[in-house]
Symmetry: C2
Subunit: 285 residues, 2 copies
């Protein structure tokens, strides 16, 4: 008892003497020290503390089966990208990673090479193709590439539109040469959800909520570390100010507009179409 603003921190930590989970003690010790240091450093007032309690409560209560406001908070404070960086220290040459985001859905359909995955999504037709290789350049056959993205006209994922049929989601398999290709729409930049507490925080910070246009990919090849990343659209106005700090030069891809004519899948397009290519490199597991 009789803890003061200096002795309180060690008193809290000493209460974990009976804890049997050493990793939990490590995590909570660091967390409590930083949390207390933060309070001391800014000399948090009681009104500010209460505002913090209200913000955290509202953030939790905004979450449901289709919305994860705490992940959005983590994303917009750079915590998600930090966790990503720490957990994927791949060798130079391996494709860089970026945030997973909140819009992945398990169980997307397996589709054939050059499948049209647009569903009902509007936007410029876009052929995406490339290869998956290992660090030595050898093709990775039968790697599974989960693809998901927004539409190309409103910037919404299917799960953001109540009652919409799934669109722009699929599992593509590489062939024996490590090649893949699919037809989608060219994604556009879009704002993260701003109708919750995190939107209010961004507004107070003087920040915009936009993410530059991108296609999500998660690649799993047997014997390789899973790779979660994006392909960003070169020239997007938000590349330098992504609301979740996810952009890396090496992931920015030219999305080239072509006149009507012969498409990469061998078909003939009667309208202009976009092409983008990317060669992924996986790290061994």
């Amino acid at each position: 008892m009789n803890f003061d603003e200096r002795t309180l921190t060690d008193a809290v930590l000493a209460r974990m003497d009976g804890c049997e989970d050493a990793r939990f003690v490590t995590i909570m010790t660091s967390l409590v020290r930083h949390l207390h240091d933060f309070v001391r450093e800014v000399e948090l007032t009681e009104a500010e503390w209460m505002e913090g309690i209200r913000f955290l409560t509202a953030t939790g209560q905004k979450c449901d089966d289709k919305r994860q406001e705490f992940i959005l908070l983590s994303d917009t404070l750079g915590v998600s990208m930090l966790v990503d960086a720490i957990n994927h220290r791949f060798a130079k040459g391996v494709t860089e990673t970026t945030v997973f985001g909140p819009f992945f859905v398990e169980g997307a359909p397996h589709v054939a090479q050059w499948a049209d995955i647009r569903g009902g999504a509007k936007g410029a037709p876009c052929f995406v193709s490339g290869t998956v290789r290992d660090i030595d350049g050898a093709p990775v056959a039968d790697a599974v590439i989960d693809v998901w993205q927004s539409d190309g006209e409103e910037g919404f994922y299917d799960v953001q539109k109540p009652g919409a049929e799934p669109y722009c989601r699929a599992k593509i398999h590489t062939d024996a040469s490590g090649r893949f290709g699919f037809l989608t729409v060219k994604p556009i930049s879009y704002p993260v959800p701003t109708d919750g507490p995190v939107g209010g925080m961004l507004l107070t910070m003087g920040r915009h909520p936009y993410r530059p246009a991108h296609i999500h990919t998660m690649i799993q090849g047997e014997g390789f570390a899973p790779l979660t990343t994006h392909l960003f659209v070169a020239g997007d106005k938000y590349l330098d100010s992504d609301a979740v700090f996810g952009v890396k030069d090496s992931l920015v891809v030219d999305f080239v507009t072509n006149p009507a004519g012969r498409a990469p899948d061998g078909s003939t397009m009667n309208e202009p179409f976009v092409t983008a290519t990317y060669d992924f490199v996986l790290a061994r597991a």
Copy 2:
């Protein structure tokens, strides 16, 4: 773009360049630095990050109009007592403060001197009395003392019992000599709520959830700083291990059991009764 685990923190902070609220920038700068340092220090795994997201979400969703799980988290991690200490650096001689807690209710009835505030609460009858003075010993007349506490048999506050009439809550006014007195029940120690995420955290930490027996008081006198504190029952087995780190020696009071007979309010008790006295000292506003 191209932020790595070292450069990301400054990138997040630089995004507040357009923020017009200087205090908000100060608070968020410290918070983001400590949050990122925590993640780097423990090298948080993706699974641990997800567990943190789940914990925070569940904590928010446990809150309702009668339950504040984030305040409980703050209390049990010592943050509430730290904020209390930082915001009440009173001169030596002024009564020490402690946590406000989650069970205060606005609008308790104003009652007369020596009122019986027990309502339906069970427990040993207990006469609490004393004075309210300033730092020089002069009485503070017509100070309002908000009192609230658990019952003396089960350790519940009225608001924890669905449908219960209010009990053990009142506003007592000091008389011209700064004196006050009321009849209540002797409080008992009780566990903080353990059926939510915070209960799970305490269990994993190897900690018990108990608070030593106490009476809450919040005193407001004209021209004085409000004083929020507890009177703790001497001898309680949890004084050295209060789940919320709130105990101070100077707030531990002898609750004396007396045989049946003349009580402090002048009445005659037919059963044994408890007495406790405390002299509060207020700081000038």
